[in-house]
């Protein structure tokens, strides 16, 4: 069972973790570079993985590189950006089949480790800088990505609520940065951001799959040992306050269905027990198809198609998001708050608790069956300063009591209500 992780330090601020299980047919190497989110720097860092993905010193042609990936049985190479609390994570990954499935006997694991390393350490440079052409292209792509948030109205409404909630704190900075900043990216600024990442980022490399992780470990250890680094001290704790007063914001757009998003603060959840209780509370409240929100806001009152709650422990936020008919938002908001109040007062039974535990248990035990599930679980463990396996977490979640769930609900305070409404007939399309 891939239930355990072997994590070791392989350089200054650099850690290598291996999670292996023979049941898989693929291997995945994921390189994560962490720095605190900063409004001014976010876009410059965000462009880096996309430029590194295009080509490298040994393969200075994008098309040749992609041909090589085809030859490696469609190996997947990706660059992307993630966000964890107040940190920005620059991610590079390579995934390929295991050596066993290579018809022509190519050593796929070794090749992919080398490729991941070259992407990170040997970028294609012209005069010491990223190529102007690459920067121009990826700058536009980054701007498109930032703007495309607007296309998905649900995502747009959720992000808007987060921005309103966190104002000018780092938690409000978007993972790809702001459009205005992205427009100012130059070859110099992007290359500086890349060098800064190599020098200062906290680095977490994960190897997940059925193969032997030692080739990847060796090559990354060697390359990092050649660098002079001054890594940041990563600190996942963050000051989370309670909401003082509720801010309500409404925006109208030419859409057919309204989107209601409610952002709550959880206050301090310092102990793992509190985090587990919050996780349970949020699932019981609106995280499952038999939760309070689903049963009442959707099924009983038919107010919406979706109404769910989620908990982000990294930012200490609980969010409820729902698609409702414009005109019904007040009714939906009242019902959403009423259900939370009922949870606070303990108006739920043992069956709801045991069903919620079963659902969480099921999800946790299933995470070990996919490479992505394992990567997300263990990266989050590392970033939150824990080293629990999914099974160990099952143990703890099943011990959460009714009182703890009520206490978690009592800790939650409403901060922001954002409603994206449909324009009235006549003003719309």
């Amino acid at each position: 069972m891939s239930d355990t992780i072997k994590r070791k330090k392989i350089g200054d601020g650099v850690f290598f973790s291996a999670i292996t299980d023979p049941k898989f047919k693929s291997n995945r190497i994921s390189v994560n570079l962490l720095l605190p989110l900063e409004e001014a720097a976010a876009a410059n860092r965000a462009i880096v993985p996309f430029i590194l993905r295009l080509r490298n010193r040994d393969c200075p042609d994008f098309t040749r590189l992609n041909e090589k990936l085809c030859d490696l049985y469609g190996a997947l190479v990706d660059g992307d950006v993630r966000k964890y609390g107040a940190y920005q994570i620059i991610n590079l990954s390579v995934q390929s089949l295991d050596d066993r499935y290579s018809i022509d006997g190519a050593p796929l694991v070794q090749e992919c480790a080398d490729l991941a390393c070259k992407m990170l350490f040997d970028p294609y440079l012209e005069g010491g800088l990223f190529s102007e052409a690459d920067v121009r292209l990826e700058r536009q792509n980054l701007i498109d990505t930032i703007e495309s948030e607007f296309n998905d109205k649900r995502e747009y409404a959720v992000n808007k609520c987060v921005s309103l909630m966190f104002g000018d704190s780092p938690l409000a900075v978007k993972k790809y940065g702001a459009r205005e900043r992205a427009e100012q990216i130059t070859a110099q600024s992007a290359t500086d951001a890349y060098r800064d990442l190599l020098r200062r980022a906290a680095v977490e490399i994960l190897f997940i799959g059925c193969g032997d992780p030692s080739a990847a470990e060796t090559v990354f250890s060697k390359r990092f040992s050649d660098l002079v680094r001054a890594p940041i001290a990563y600190d996942p704790s963050l000051p989370v306050s309670r909401a003082q007063q509720v801010q309500s914001v409404r925006e109208d757009m030419d859409i057919t269905q309204g989107k209601l998003v409610m952002g709550f603060r959880t206050g301090q959840t310092t102990s793992p027990d509190e985090v587990n209780a919050m996780k349970m509370m949020v699932a019981l409240y609106g995280g499952t198809p038999f939760s309070r929100l689903f049963k009442n806001v959707r099924e009983k009152l038919s107010l919406c198609y979706y109404c769910t709650s989620r908990y982000d422990k990294a930012s200490g936020m609980v969010m409820v998001d729902s698609g409702v008919e414009t005109g019904n938002e007040q009714k939906a908001e009242e019902e959403i708050l009423r259900q939370l109040e009922l949870v606070r007062q303990g108006e739920f039974d043992e069956e709801e608790i045991s069903s919620t535990i079963l659902t969480i248990t099921n999800a946790l035990k299933s995470t070990v069956d996919t490479l992505n599930g394992l990567e997300n679980w263990y990266l989050t463990q590392i970033l939150s300063g824990c080293d629990e396996s999914p099974l160990e977490n099952v143990e703890k979640v099943s011990r959460v009591t009714k009182q703890q769930i009520q206490a978690a609900a009592a800790q939650v305070t409403l901060d922001t209500v954002f409603f994206l409404g449909a324009k009235k007939e006549g003003e719309s399309r």
Partner: protein, 424 residues
């Protein structure tokens, strides 16, 4: 009857069982896995709008969106809804309706047998009343509106509307608020009795479970279904598209496009085989390593959202290229010109070999996950194939086969373009 389906190259196998009830069971136990995924599917989707079981009777025509409506309503039984029952096992359950299938599924790590029993029981127990139908019209109305606001969905359905003159693939899977208003409890029962006959269904299970337990529970829950032959009616669809270009203004940041090529449909097996071969052709034509991709990317005409797919189902087949573009018309024109060039000059053998490996790798990766295995077994089954046939088709594809598909399926005169453009 129990039959073992084996792959020499993968050193794996699974079971195909013809259950006495009429249901086909596809059982793929996976060593070392902690979870299991089960999916019960009927060979019935949104395009099946006209059918009969008696060759002498008239065809029955049902409102657009009935299959999807039925999917929602199946979760409700006289003794409560299925989600509430799954709550007692912890399984994560869902259902979906596509153009030609409706599937009910769950994933779980514990209590597999209880969950399977719930699945088999609720899918074989219809319960519709005028009141519950009326309530569902409200919920689905909201779901339809949610999709109306989704530009990815709009670009696709506008494209299908432009491509197809008569075929019901051009109608939204959920129907419209107007069409679902015509759905009644009686209509649902009639449709249910036809398409949810166990001879028309398959249960696929993959992951950590015991095949004997699945057979035992099927024995206990399922009653033998009468044999029936379903005849579906589709209007004659011309090769030409309904319109060459369709555009909708939408609150989006950047324009989006979908370019579709109408492919002459064949029987399900040929459709599926050609579709895999066309994945290879698409890779040669527009994959990350193709000259076309490079040209479009460098010119800023596409970005990482660019994608190509091969779609096929009952009585239709299509090739679709889609993504964001600052100039959708130019992107589409470049793709069509490249198709014409490739047809004239032929496929480069080295590019073919490379792209074949890449597509073959994709099919092997599919065998990594219980959910993708269950999905693929189901799809292959309804096409008259098994899951290893898919690997085999990709792995043994020849340049001649690819060349033949290129000439027969990539016909630029049967293309349509759908554009979503930002509002002024």
């Amino acid at each position: 009857m129990k039959q073992e389906i084996r792959s020499q190259s993968m050193q794996e196998s699974y079971w195909k069982v013809d259950h006495p009830s009429g249901l086909t069971l596809l059982l793929y136990p996976m060593e070392g896995f902690s979870s299991a995924y089960a999916m019960m599917t009927t060979d019935y989707g949104s395009v099946d709008m006209s059918f009969r079981t008696d060759p002498l009777a008239d065809f029955t025509r049902i409102p657009a969106g009935t299959a999807h409506f039925l999917e929602h309503k199946m979760f409700e039984n006289e003794d409560g809804d299925a989600f509430a029952k799954y709550a007692a096992t912890g399984a994560s359950a869902n259902a979906f309706t596509s153009f030609d299938k409706t599937s009910y599924l769950f994933g779980c790590a514990d209590h597999f047998e209880e969950s399977l029993r719930i699945l088999l029981e609720f899918v074989t127990t219809p319960y519709f009343t005028p009141e519950t139908v009326a309530k569902e019209q409200g919920i689905i109305g909201q779901e339809i509106k949610m999709y109306d606001d989704n530009p990815d969905w709009r670009v696709l359905f506008n494209l299908l509307k432009a491509m197809y003159v008569h075929h019901p693939i051009a109608i939204d899977i959920a129907g419209t608020v107007e069409s679902i208003a015509d759905i009644t409890a009686d209509r649902l029962y009639e449709t249910y009795r036809t398409f949810y006959n166990l001879h028309n269904m398959v249960l696929a299970v993959a992951g950590s479970f015991s095949p004997e337990a699945v057979i035992r529970i099927a024995d206990e829950v399922l009653r033998p279904a009468p044999t029936l032959k379903i005849e579906r009616e589709f209007s004659e669809e011309p090769e030409t598209v309904a319109q060459k270009r369709i555009e909708q203004k939408f609150p989006v940041a950047a324009p989006m496009f979908g370019l579709g090529l109408k492919v002459r449909p064949a029987d399900p097996k040929t459709n599926e085989t050609n579709s895999i071969l066309n994945e290879i052709v698409n890779e040669v034509l527009a994959g990350d390593a193709s000259p076309l991709y490079r040209r479009l990317y460098d010119a800023g005409l596409i970005n990482s959202t660019f994608d190509s797919e091969t779609d096929c189902g009952k009585d239709f087949a299509a090739l679709i290229f889609s993504g964001e573009s600052k100039d959708p018309d130019r992107a589409a024109q470049e793709i069509l010109q490249e198709i014409d060039r490739l047809r004239k000059e032929g496929i480069d053998p080295a590019a073919f070999e490379r792209c074949k490996k890449s597509v073959y790798g994709r099919y092997i990766r599919m065998l990594n996950r219980p959910d993708s295995i269950a999905n693929a077994m189901t799809g292959a089954h309804f096409s008259g194939l098994d899951i290893y046939d898919l690997l085999e088709i990709a792995g043994s594809a020849t340049l001649e086969q690819a060349q033949c598909r290129l000439m027969e399926d990539y016909r630029t005169e049967y293309a349509a373009l759908s554009v979503i453009s930002p509002q002024d």
